[in-house]
Symmetry: C2
Subunit: 498 residues, 2 copies
């Protein structure tokens, strides 16, 4: 399925491909370029596989200078550019543009420096998330954010999407764990943003770049914070006979002032799918389970576990188990981390949503999702970062049934609209990409969207970087029917500028 690019988001040009390939090859050599349909195929989508598009050209630069050269050439000729890490993103942020260059950072795969005294790692963007922790392990250090895809996803993609993971409740998202990035702008300028200091002078462009989904610049180097590996970590697995009870137990844990390293919830459908797949030891009859991990020094972990266990029991847990050692702890988490692929085993296709809600609205939102699921006749599993209020409803479907994907998309959109309605957001950690671009029109008013575009122009006045992603044009929103009703505002006077 091809992504429906809105006419206002197209970047037309009339450059001849062979001519442009010759120009590119002068800077990065023929080995760094792909153009045969066969070679382009692996780049046609990212983790949001429902949408596919062959890029015009794939460029694989090896040096910062080569990235600068590619971007300068593209800018000169008005050619759009989409940067790509490992392609594990779930919102289509790395979906190619049919007439654009797909800029892969795959060759930027070196760890440049581990500094155990200052507890930092300086790495290239194509380094895998888990590889940083592996390189830091000899110093007793690790990189905290752990997306479920951490074996495969790259740190550059993590920064672009501001990725989360099961331990973000305590350790924060990518933005809280990055100290410095170097980016190349569409003009080919190399900027160093952020630094070793706690606060930095100047505008916080480091935070601005983090989560900007490849629209502002291409990340070519990253310095991340490392943390000491906690001396002790154990996880509780609590079973409940209703999703509501599990939700209330989660609220009680947070309400008691405990700070779990992770606090995750799964419903029965997901439990069964996972258990059948990775044999994590989950109770397949439970309506919901909560995983609650504490880490730190042994005394504190023990004390926190005791308190959490009490809370779970008081809140109606039918069973509470504690991991008996590192192997079991890892097995409990392996189940959670395999939830998405497990869904893929019980259904030909699945669509993973990602929204956040205020924690106190959890029971109500779960109820609304169940209603929508029944209404659309589509099964929805629920896996979520309960502590953060970050939901991941998994819609199961079969793309071979005509019209089913369209129904799935509509249901997904409705779920996101419920999130916005209760005061939440349309993304927790997966980004907007192409997947949720229409819902951005509900999330924001025209003033905010206009400001987003103004910031975008301050980095990329030509609109060549990852066009059609993350921030909708006001034209798109007008057609989506959102602009003239949002927050009671009428159409923005500056609409015509976009």
């Amino acid at each position: 399925m091809v992504y429906r690019v809105h006419p206002s988001e197209r970047v037309p040009h009339h450059v001849d491909r062979d001519y442009f390939l010759r120009l590119l090859s002068e800077h990065i050599g023929n080995n760094g370029l792909l153009f045969d349909a066969e070679d382009l195929r692996p780049y046609e989508c990212d983790g949001l596989s429902a949408y596919r598009e062959l890029p015009w050209i794939v460029a694989l630069p090896e040096t910062i200078e080569q990235v600068q050269a590619v971007l300068r050439l593209c800018r000169e000729h008005g050619v759009p550019v989409v940067a790509r890490g490992a392609g594990t993103g779930l919102s289509g942020g790395a979906l190619p543009v049919a007439n654009g260059v797909l800029l892969s950072l795959a060759k930027f795969n070196r760890i440049l420096e581990i500094d155990p005294v200052n507890r930092t790692a300086r790495v290239q963007p194509g380094v895998r998330n888990l590889a940083i922790s592996e390189a830091a392990a000899p110093y007793g250090l690790y990189y905290a954010p752990d997306p479920s895809s951490q074996i495969a996803c790259t740190i550059g993609g993590n920064v672009a999407e501001n990725s989360g993971g099961v331990h973000c409740l305590k350790y924060g998202l990518t933005v809280h764990n990055v100290l410095q990035v170097r980016i190349v702008t569409m003009d080919g300028e190399l900027l160093t943003l952020g630094g070793s200091g706690y606060d930095g002078p100047g505008y916080d462009l480091l935070a601005l770049i983090t989560g900007s989904e490849g629209l502002l610049g291409v990340i070519v180097e990253i310095t991340v914070k490392l943390l000491p590996i906690p001396p002790c970590a154990q996880v509780l697995l609590a079973s409940f006979d209703s999703v509501e009870a599990a939700g209330e137990a989660v609220a009680a844990i947070i309400g008691a002032g405990l700070v779990p390293a992770g606090l995750e919830m799964m419903d029965n459908m997901t439990i069964r799918a996972v258990e059948d797949f990775v044999h994590a030891g989950y109770p397949i009859d439970a309506a919901a389970i909560v995983l609650c991990e504490f880490d730190g020094i042994a005394e504190q972990v023990e004390s926190d576990l005791l308190k959490a266990r009490d809370i779970f029991r008081t809140r109606g847990a039918t069973d509470v188990r504690q991991s008996t050692g590192e192997a079991e702890r890892k097995r409990f988490w392996a189940g959670r981390k395999a939830a998405f692929p497990a869904a893929g085993r019980i259904s030909p296709d699945y669509y993973c949503m990602d929204g956040t809600i205020p924690r106190k609205r959890l029971p109500e939102v779960l109820h609304r999702i169940a209603e929508l699921s029944a209404q659309y006749g589509l099964m929805v599993g629920n896996v979520f970062h309960a502590g953060d209020g970050n939901l991941h409803p998994l819609i199961l479907y079969d793309a071979n049934n005509p019209g089913e994907l369209e129904r799935v998309e509509e249901l997904g959109g409705k779920i996101l609209e419920v999130c916005v309605e209760v005061g939440g957001t349309i993304t927790g950690e997966h980004g907007v990409g192409v997947e949720k671009i229409n819902q951005m029109c509900l999330q924001f008013g025209t003033s905010e969207l206009a400001q987003f575009h103004a910031v975008k122009r301050s980095f990329d006045p030509y609109g060549l970087l990852n066009p059609g992603k993350a921030v909708p044009t006001l034209h798109r929103c007008a057609e989506f029917g959102a602009i003239h009703v949002h927050r009671g505002r009428v159409a923005h006077p500056e609409l015509e500028r976009f």
Copy 2:
């Protein structure tokens, strides 16, 4: 002393003051306007009292609509605007512009909502930092960032400066504790940035605004995170017979993986000044003291205190005392928080610097500061957030001695240059304001500065908000002599644009 505005930073206009006052009064009434020299006097400086300038007009709006009206009028007539909270800032960020409106947020002093379930407080920008914690206390909650000025400073100023405090080592700066802000742009548009979710869709304009020193918009509402008041907190006071030994003990505490709530250091000169002033119980013969606080549950605090005490002893502490209760704990901190005013008692004037350095460079930097102090014949006391590597050298002087302030400024500049040289930054938490604007030319290259200006234009294309602060024009840097040598780069081709 009048701040030397660079010609490229001036915003000339020929608007008649009486005429403009009439326009303003139509929107905010005569009670919201000050224009007599007598009434303008209290606004002529902020905490950086070395620079003074009377504003053209002071406006005190009461509603968001009035702020919008003031900004729209100023934009229409090309009148510059400086927003002001309590005026406790230390870098001159709220220094008025002679032909501009000083926009005081003093009347925005209401706490709009405390939400104990979601642990948030929604407040107006003129609410004092400490007032938020006082309002949250009945729910067992508090607002964590605690600048030394927290009795007086306002949360709006905290956001504008991304303020820190002694507990930021564990709880983060303002940016880590703010969930949402509403700002009015120079166009009079009201934008809502950030939200309740953990990550938000769209660019992270909340982080961009935080610490932007009033250059991008006027903050009119803020939602902050509240935290549960820790059930237990105790502080160690360790004495050392050399500053170097104290510095190494600090590094050892961090190196052991401990996370103190605060980790502060003071040298002998500061200890004596403070002790004489607030009788905090500090050892006046120590070359340096370290304050090290842990908070959390009692078992963990006990365990952490034991470990830290061991480290201090091993690293040569001549004495280690532990606060015996809440009263003593508060007294130990009272000394630290009074360090600046205490310096004011032993010297007619003092100048507080604010730079950060990588922690491992601490002994070397302290040595360089001592050398510079001798060279300039000016006493320098050292108080700092040791855990963060955030230094606050206090230069003592007498403004009545002709030429002495100029020597102080030169010495201050040299100290900041040392910070940059060792890989640090020219500000830790006080902002750049007018104080460090020249050193920004050393901190950043022209590409970064050009990008800062581009971002500024995306919010305020007319350059009317707080002109001459925080980000130097490239013309200023060229005259300061920094541009053509920084990082081996030659003058920026786009220099002429600024």
